[in-house]
């Protein structure tokens, strides 16, 4: 069997390999007395079901551009919902900021990739690049949002001091936003720098398995890495601007709820 091929009886080989790995993993876990013993088995079975369903959905979707767009919209909605919940946003303005951040970041990168002709706009390409970029934009959005709010929480007195001196919200949180952005961006930059040295990236391996030449797989991976960096940066820019735009009161509501009353009175005086 060359590569992964489920045609014919080859899937039996896959099942055998997975079963052996699952048994070995379960036995090793049992020797360490990791309970419940059936945990790994259930996890693998669940993964098998989920991957099967996903595979079948994608098999259908990649045949029709309209369904690819539909699926990307669904992914975007789920990404916005997940990221917003993870950050803890409350107001409509904050939800809009998170949504606009993810959509503009991923959307701009996809547009550049397609308009420059780096990728042909086939359903397969659109689904692959769209899925990767939306997912990464969501991750960066969540990490940035949480980092910023943690920083606001920890440095609340500094912000109050800035505002007391007459600064607006943007000026008061400028340092914190920069630090949060640097923290959030670090994993993505590191991943890009160490590509091929520490890990083999998924898109590269996937393209190779899909039959692309190593050169073509490398080209696709490069596009993905650049796209992820761009999507993440734009997403953070929108979030940093948008969350600060909402004002101190709005930021305080999600970062330091206990100081809500204080910030309100502070703003009234300001």
């Amino acid at each position: 069997m060359t590569g992964l091929d489920i045609a014919g009886s080859a899937w039996l080989h896959t099942a055998l390999a997975v079963a052996l790995l699952m048994i070995a993993g379960t036995v090793s876990g049992a020797l360490l007395d990791i309970r419940p013993f059936r945990g790994p088995v259930i996890a693998i079975l669940r993964a098998a079901i989920q991957l099967t369903v996903l595979g079948l959905i994608l098999q259908g979707i990649v045949t029709d551009l309209r369904w690819v767009f539909f699926w990307l919209i669904v992914m975007t909605c789920v990404a916005i919902w997940t990221s917003g919940r993870r950050i803890g946003v409350r107001t409509g303005q904050q939800w809009s900021t998170v949504g606009f951040g993810i959509v503009s970041g991923a959307g701009f990168s996809i547009a550049v990739v397609l308009l420059t002709g780096a990728l042909t706009p086939t359903p397969q390409h659109l689904l692959a690049i769209g899925g990767i970029l939306i997912g990464n934009a969501m991750t960066i959005s969540s990490i940035f949002g949480r980092s910023l709010l943690r920083a606001v929480h920890e440095n609340w007195h500094e912000i109050e001091g800035w505002i007391a001196l007459g600064a607006d919200t943007g000026q008061a949180t400028l340092r914190l936003r920069r630090e949060a952005a640097a923290t959030s961006f670090l994993p993505t930059v590191d991943q890009t720098r160490t590509t091929g040295l520490v890990t083999l990236p998924g898109a590269f391996v996937g393209s190779l398995f899909g039959g692309a030449s190593p050169i073509a797989a490398g080209q696709f991976q490069l596009i993905v890495l650049a796209g992820v960096l761009c999507a993440g940066a734009i997403c953070m820019l929108v979030l940093a601007h948008g969350l600060a735009q909402g004002g101190v009161r709005s930021l305080a509501r999600i970062a330091v709820p206990e100081t809500k009353q204080r910030s309100r009175s502070l703003l009234r005086r300001g």
Binding site: W11, L56, G60, T63, C77
Partner: protein, 506 residues
């Protein structure tokens, strides 16, 4: 598990179920007689109008999987006659009504309130697939009704226990398999459902598993003869291998929603509902979402996997048995929106997208079947004279043969001489009439003055690349006939040939 499981049966639910069933039946019968009969219905009607003595040998030869349904239609025809398509299709309308009524009871088992349960039942009747099934003399509607019955009995047995309930479940499963073999696809749904339920209720006993497996085993045992016959006659679905059935359209649109815009909106609502409730803290809400999702997804997934790994057997109509899950998840998705205004707005939007799809299914030549046989029959009624001769397309697959027009609309096609018929369907071992070859047919033309030819336009319906009209025209011209009239319908073309004065000398 939802609170509804603790409720005792009461008049409110029975009344809601009954009223929903009647509403679904009424809705399903709207213009049910208008679309032309088509190939699948022709198979049902030709089989069901056989004598009992002729039906048995046929079932051992072909279509055993539909045998019980053909017998039921045989009985139905003996009750209501072959009077009109609407009357014949009423049997399917009744099945859709029953399915909607039982769907209300499923919603009750899942802990829904009566208004939402009614909405679930009505949503099922409104699904384009079910609207189509309600006007289709085929086992689809009845198999959906059976699947709802199996699921409600399973939920009742899970909630309340008792041997009798598990026995009823087994019986329903056995009957369901005899109506439609792929009803066995509900087995993994039930197992998955029980796993999910058990996950939420760790105290669930081993006896629950034992009861489920015993009941499922008994049900499969009851349906085993049919399953064996279906396996022996599996060659019947070999045509699916040439169809390329696994597309976004056949996977997401055709099974339930009929058109892409409606399908996308409905899927968006369903996915939103699943996303919002699958991780809910409410155990009942989480269970119902996961159970309905598995009912929606598992049967299709199993068929698609078989199609990829082994024999192609996926076709959208086989997973119609998941329709109640689609309807309930759709309503569940609407429920997750908090404000009444949003719910109403979404419902109106769905109806706006739905109506054109439904309207297109109730035209004389429906989008789904593309059959024009009722139009052809009406044309014959107006134009043909008793004593005329007719030659039906010889090269077409028997299910698409225009000869079916004379079988399905005998009252509209006058007494004309069919010279291409070798053996009538009720004497043949297979489903269809057996045609003569072209030379045999031509030899029987004799001194006919007027000959009608009815041929199928689409070449892909023919077994091979044959131009039926051109071949028949060549033969008839050589024998001195010329075209007097030609009428083309979407699927068939009718030509009237009359003998020229010098034709006799050629």
């Amino acid at each position: 598990m939802g609170h509804g499981t603790l409720l005792r049966p009461n008049g409110g639910w029975a009344y809601a179920s009954l009223m929903t069933g009647i509403a679904a039946l009424t809705f399903g019968t709207i213009e049910a007689g208008k679309p032309s009969y088509w190939t699948d219905e022709a198979a049902t009607i030709l089989s069901a109008t056989r004598s009992w003595g002729s039906l048995w040998p046929m079932l051992l030869h072909v279509d055993a999987v539909h045998g019980v349904y053909y017998m039921l239609v045989h009985i139905w025809i003996s009750l209501v006659g072959m009077g009109s398509p609407a009357m014949l299709r009423l049997s399917s309308g009744l099945a859709v009504g029953a399915a909607a009524a039982v769907t209300v009871l499923i919603a009750r088992e899942l802990g829904w309130t009566i208004p939402w349960a009614i909405a679930g039942g009505l949503a099922l009747a409104g699904l384009p697939r079910m609207f189509l099934a309600a006007a289709n003399v085929r086992s689809e509607a009845l198999s959906v009704a059976c699947s709802t019955l199996i699921v409600v009995l399973w939920l009742r047995a899970e909630h309340l226990g008792g041997r009798r309930r598990w026995l009823f479940h087994a019986l329903a499963l056995g009957i369901g398999i005899w109506i439609f073999a792929f009803t066995v696809l509900l087995l993994p749904v039930e197992i998955l459902g029980r796993t999910l339920q058990r996950h939420d209720r760790p105290a669930s006993s081993r006896s629950g598993w034992r009861n489920l497996f015993l009941s499922q085993g008994l049900g499969v045992l009851l349906g085993l003869p049919l399953l064996l016959l279906a396996y022996l006659e599996r060659g019947q679905i070999a045509f699916l291998s040439s169809r390329g059935e696994l597309t976004a359209h056949t996977l997401f649109t055709t099974p339930w929603f009929g058109a892409v815009p409606l399908s996308m909106l409905a899927w968006a609502v369903i996915l939103w509902g699943i996303f919002r409730t699958a991780r809910s803290k409410d155990i009942g809400e989480r269970f119902q979402t996961l159970m309905l999702s598995s009912w929606l997804v598992v049967p299709g997934t199993v068929l698609v996997l078989f199609s990829i790994l082994s024999t192609p057997m996926y076709t959208a109509r086989y997973i119609a048995l998941s329709s109640p899950a689609a309807a309930l998840l759709l309503v569940s998705g609407i429920r997750t929106f908090r404000t009444t205004r949003t719910r109403v707005l979404l419902s109106v939007l769905l109806v706006v997208f739905l109506l054109p799809v439904l309207a297109l299914e109730r035209t004389a030549i429906s989008v789904h079947s593309r059959a024009d046989w009722s139009s052809v029959a009406s044309f014959f009624q107006r134009q043909a004279r008793p004593g005329d001769t007719v030659i039906y397309d010889i090269w077409v697959r028997p299910s698409w043969s225009p000869r079916n027009v004379s079988r399905l609309y005998p009252e509209l096609v006058p007494n004309i001489r069919d010279i291409g018929l070798r053996r009538s369907w009720h004497c043949a071992p297979g489903l269809w009439d057996e045609p003569r070859t072209l030379p045999e047919t031509v030899r029987r033309i004799g001194s006919a003055q007027r000959i009608w030819t009815v041929v199928v336009n689409e070449q892909k319906i023919h077994g091979r690349n044959q131009h039926s009209e051109a071949r028949l025209a060549e033969v008839l011209r050589r024998r001195g006939y010329r075209i007097s009239e030609r009428r083309q319908f979407p699927l068939d073309t009718i030509v009237l040939w009359t003998r020229t004065s010098d034709g006799m000398t050629r």
